[in-house]
Amino acid sequence: MLLAAYVGYVGLGAAVLRALERPVELQAAQHLLQERWELLANHTCPQPPALQRLVEGIIQAYKSGITLQGNTTSLGRWDYSRSFFFSISAITTIGYGNLSPSTAVGRIFCIVFALFGIPLNLVLLNETGQLMLLGVQHCAHHLEEVFHWQNKTFLMMKTCALVTGLFLSLLLPPLLFCDKEGWSCEEGFYYSFITLSTIGFGDHVIVMNPDHTCPSWYKNVISLWILFGMTWLALVIKLCINFLD
């Protein structure tokens, strides 16, 4: 039930943001294309001021996430899957920033959306965390019954679960990213951690390369990974906090 509400909520946010941002984005991209062709038209003698303007224009475009390569600009940043990903990045407080609302309405919506979405996300993570711990407990009990081991089973199960979580969250995904995103393995690991800890710089972001088309299972796997990976990392950090206190 909770999961359905969560997914529905994220989807709603994605749809609204897309509706708000796309027209503005198209306009800005057109404007930049025009400027660039004008510069090329006078290409026999681009003066330093013209160069300055070109550079500043490119910077501005880059900041708004538009890259001027080839004949067209990379339009369609706010397509559905990217908007969805953006909603996730807002609610989980990852906040990559490679995509962010530029209209005033989009921003206000973003604030309200996050205001309700973040607690929702926290509740979900909490539930998932409890489920995980319960699962570990069950396994420990099972092992006790089957093998007649005594006190050490729970501790062993916890360590086992910790290591499994480490593999699934931080060590295996980089290999996947290496293949699909073209990053080095170290970059994949760095990206995984920065995402799961919700720091989310945005220098590396998956699914954002317009030249790549990814299989449909990829995005679903990524969403699952984010959810469970974040839960695992949150549990690990809780452990660290208990240790510090």
Binding site: H43, I58, I59, S100, I118, Y190, F201
Partner: protein
Amino acid sequence: RAMCSGKLQTGLLVAGYFVYLLMGAAVFQALERTAEKQEKMAAAQMKKAFLQSFTQLTVVEMEQFVKNLTEAIQNGVYPVGNESQFEESNWDFSNSFFFAGTVVSTIGYGTLHPKTAGGQIFCVFFALFGIPLNIVFLHRVGKMLSLLCKKLGKFLYEKGMRKKKIKFLTLLFFLVTGILVFLCLPSIFFQKTEGWSYSEGIYFAFITLSTIGFGDYVVGKNSDRNYFSYYRVLVAIWILFGLAWIALLFNL
């Protein structure tokens, strides 16, 4: 005696927290600065070459230029202006410190981020220990804030109010003053110092305090403006107390 050791603990925690940040900033700076210098030199050379060949500029050459430029920008180097801006670094100490803070608080704006492999790996481990440290630290700061609330509650109790009403009122008071002090007032402040509109200020304040931290708006990044010397320190203090307030809100 117990109170004394409690205070000592808190003091050590505060000291430890700042030492941690300072150390992190120093390491980030050490790791990133040389790489940044190289990028800058490459960017300057690129511009030289472009200007030398502009009499016979073809579309292909222009494309190449644009591509090179985009790569430079992606690496965080903005090749606008002349050589005099070479000396300013993205990774000077105050910027690195601010960066370390954004890592540990999980805000993560992203306008500054490590590009060397060493910097990235260090960032991961720095955060792994820094985030719990940050949470424990905020918890203590939050407790300080909640003491104020308790005092208010006591005052109202002595006036003869019922407990439920007191709880509701203190929560409301906490909420409203927090919104004023941490969201509304700073936005007015940013209007003056950053030249943003009021709504942009609120957006920035919210995105920062919720630790989402997109990075589309960041303080102290506008090269046209003069910031007074303790601007960033003030902003850091605001972020700290604002985060503690939010953490406390969740606990209430």
